[in-house]
Symmetry: C2
Subunit: 214 residues, 2 copies
């Protein structure tokens, strides 16, 4: 195995182990000792890749942008809807993404640019909303900044509540509820009947999400 490849594997192992510990305990209670133990690597290897716990957390936030891949759909509102279902699907399965979301929601000693995940989500959705508007899918006069804030904000709240109530098992149903209530304020009336607000059929058979840095 080439040196570079070994390095990439070590880095992934650290991020995966750290994500599990952050996801279970939160940032402040997570110790580098426990991260080391789970990764099976040496302290030297850890510090080679990341100078501090903070640096690991910052790298985990990158997972957020990787989960923001908009499905290709000619109807841009459908692409936005499916983006949220895809994100929900990965949240249920990927500890790296869960750790990144937990870092964004909780108030800890991690002095990161904590709004990075929200900025990334907002930029992606805003871009799709602009395309949707160009295609005449949105309500005339819709304020895209407001619509972006509301989509990101209500998804955030739905996933926080879903975690509290069912450890995210009912997240897809909550996302369906969100879109059913939200679409009349966003899309033109003629569009509503053409949009699917349930998870895309493909999600059930989608491959496991790639690891951070993959």
């Amino acid at each position: 195995m080439a040196k570079q490849e070994r390095g990439t594997r070590s880095r992934r192992a650290i991020l995966r182990a750290a994500a599990e510990v952050f996801d279970e305990r939160g940032y402040d209670a997570a110790s580098t000792n426990e991260i080391l133990a789970r990764s099976g690597l040496t302290r030297g290897a850890l510090y080679h890749h990341f100078p501090s716990k903070e640096a690991i957390a910052a790298a985990l936030l990158e997972a957020h942008s990787e989960a923001l891949v908009a499905p290709d759909d000619s109807t841009k509102m459908q692409a936005i809807i499916d983006l949220t279902f895809g994100f929900a699907y990965r949240l249920q399965r990927d500890p790296v993404l869960r750790a990144s979301v937990r870092l964004a929601v909780e108030d800890t000693s991690f002095t990161r640019p904590v709004n990075t995940p929200y900025e990334q989500s907002s930029a992606t959705i805003r871009g799709l909303l602009e395309q949707a508007r160009e295609q005449g899918e949105t309500l005339p006069g819709l304020d895209l900044t407001e619509a972006t804030t509301m989509i990101v904000g209500s998804f955030t709240g739905m996933q926080v509540m879903s975690q509290v109530y069912t450890n995210r098992k009912d997240l897809p149903e909550r996302v369906t509820t969100m879109w059913r209530l939200l679409l009349p304020g966003i899309v033109s009336p003629g569009m509503i009947g053409h949009l699917r607000v349930t998870p895309p059929p493909a999600a059930a058979a989608a491959p496991e999400p790639a690891a951070v840095g993959a």
Copy 2:
């Protein structure tokens, strides 16, 4: 001062001090030593009222229901809207309510019935929605369970994001955004123009919120 009154004052002092510490550090990092130091009371007084840190947290969750006083308005949707603005107003000013919300949003070792605040909010809003439906304010066929979930969920997300971005300074503007986008999916079209989605004028001059247990 009568003995009972002294007891009530001590209890309030503990809850206020604990709320500040929980609000600043989160449940797990909060120590009873720091709560004691801030309250100015003895350890004996603390344990007289609360056997554990967990018992204090459980009492703080009660603050949530006290902040759920629906304003009296003949239009029930306006009462719901103003309830959310009143809650936002208190979140900006009352550490006791902030502590209760932080306990509900974050994943800590506190093994409480963590969904209590969401249940309380949902019950209040659901009751008002039923009255709104009776008065013909809601969209025909609206699923009140879904509408309740969406109102509580999107408010939760708006306040989490507002905290991250502005330490809750822009929360009223985010609540306005929420209602502007959400109303078309909830109320009958004729109602929208009759509802105010900005903070009620009285909120600016409202008295400071009462302490827990007051």
